[in-house]
Amino acid sequence: METLFSQTTEAIRREAKDLLESGKVAAFLGFVKGSLPTVTRPFVARTPEETDKLVWNGLCVMNLANYLPGLLKSLEPPRRPGEPPPEGPLPRVGVIATGCWSRNMVIQIQENQMDRERLVILGVDSHGMIDRRKLEVLAGGREIQSLEETDERVIISGRDFKMETARQEVLRDNCLTCVHPSPVILDKKIGPTVPERRVHEPFARIEEIERMDAGSRWAWFQEEIATCIRCYACRNACPLCYCPTCFVDDSHPQWVGKSIDKTDTATFHILRAYHCAGRCTDCGACESACPMGIKMRLFTRKLQKDCLELFASEPGLDLNSPLPLTTYQPEDPDTFIIAGSKKQGTQGGSEK
């Protein structure tokens, strides 16, 4: 059956093959079908032939921007640390980008992790990606052995069941609140345009948590991270977590204990989120990657809300606007300052 996804898959294969054949790119980054019905596998095509395996569907949940710096680097001629890059243009990489992935690329370009010139971006408007945990819940613990997807529906089946549901019901939470489905930087648009979305109460879940009292919020937080095994899938799935040595791994200084102590696990999640403050484009890769089903995206989502409300800042929409924590405004909110803030009018200690 012809679907938007199957059309887009064809177009991607065509474009990717063309890019590789023409030598415009040295590699093309996309997805291939996985060995399980609910997962796709990120894939680097290095020959035109390999592009035949590429697929595009609702299970493409890993943010491809994650692979770009490493892939680009691997294509550079080897050099010693500190040695200048060779003269002339370096090999380029073709990649698929949706709204949040492209915004993520903007951040990485701003943070000098890659050069825009070395990317050939095939822009795809996102129709929302599927949350396989929601499918599992739908299946009631039974093993899903096959999955079929149309433009609006998802059909799953197992040993002795078959179920159908609207895509909307099983989309990832971040996709449900996404307002920027279209890529902000791209070289070629693939597939139809999805209109900018109007999301009613995009931060509804965050506000719900904010309304709870401190004790309930702590209980929620603890429950949420209780099963964390510190495998760092969330961190490693995140294209923004590109530090050579993450603070959790550092032993000089050792900010965080390494085991699953409740404080250490909490600290890991707080700081991981905090390090994404003002940068996270809500691609949801962290949550999709988590083997334990932890909804750590809520922490970054809260920061996203605050950046928007406090600093009117939305990350990755523009290559030229500074990231919120690398700039300031004299009139930034300071109501949280308990002594000496503007609200008290005691600048310079006039209350003598």
């Binding site: 996985g34 060995s35 399980l36 997962v39 796709t40 596998r41 990120p42 894939f43 680097v44 890993m62 994650n66 692979y67 490493g70 892939l71 945990r133 599992e136 819940v137 613990g141 093993e143 052995q145 040993r159 429950e223 099963t227 095994i229 510190r230 495998c231 760092y232 899938a233 961190r235 490693n236 799935a237 040595t245 791994d249 032993s251 050792q254 204990g257 390494k258 085991s259 699953i260 102590d261 999709s288 990657a289 988590c290 083997p291 334990m292 089903g293």
Partner: protein, 342 residues
Amino acid sequence: MKILKLDNSDLKTLLTRWNETRDLFSPVEGNGKVGWQRIEPLAFNEPAEGVPRASIKVFFFPQPETLLEYSTRSGDRDAYVPRPAMGKGRERIILGVRPCDARSVMLNSLPFANDPYFKVRKDTTLIVGFTCERPCSTCFCSWTGGSPMGTEGMDIAMTKIEGGYLAAVLSEKGKELLGHLHDTKEASPEERKQLEALRKQAQKGTGPAGSPAEILRKKALMDLYNATFWQKLADSCINCGACTFLCPTCYCFDIQDETVKGKGRRIRYWDSCMFPLFTQHASGHNPRGQKIQRVRNRFMHKLKYFPERFGPLSCVGCGRCIRECPVNIDIREVMRDLLSIQ
């Protein structure tokens, strides 16, 4: 081997009795997440098909294991003098353990043969296993030397039949656990036959011909090491530790001291060969500094180095890594690819 026939009320009686002197654990589903939890005896349900998300190694190779403790408080006479941390504690019984997980305990006791901490955990833990009626599509225990009906590592192995369970008594401790039922509830010859049939049936699983462990042991190391498919795996891999931390037979660890509020302890905690720091030298040099090297190492260790050293594969075919890998790296494909190398 003694086989008993227990009905549901026998099981309840046993659980109630066991709970008096021991802690009971079993897989518990809650909030969409499956893990091991301490349970009340009557709350026990036969486990859902497949294995819980967390592996059984949390009981034998806890995250973390405190190796020793000390004071860091200035003025304390014994400041910085370490003292052993571990007491034996109450015995534990783990219920509902699948054959693959039970077998992993046996495999892990190979590298941990001389480890006192592992030994204490093992000595104080009894396993009441439940054989697999319906393996999942990601299960491949029979490839690795196990079986859905396997009993390795268990003290008692339960197999569900019409109207109750057939319980195989596999150890002295298992015998003790059963108490008087051991002598009064012996299974009938028909029932024993039924069990035999189930076991035979289970051995007809799909998978590579012959024993992969044996075949891989014999293959030239460098042929496997230099295979081209490693690059493709590395292309997809994000180098997280989900596979290693969920795997029942991954046993790598690191040791560190932690100090807070005047107290210090030395802990052993899970580490993963997927992490760059795992092999980082103090000099800064890293012999496995690249992702491809780390991905290769994980599989080579499980499928080549471990068998060479200990015999079996370091894999029990539970399928956790396949199910939970965010980028769908599938160890079965790796095994097939390795086996196909001539």
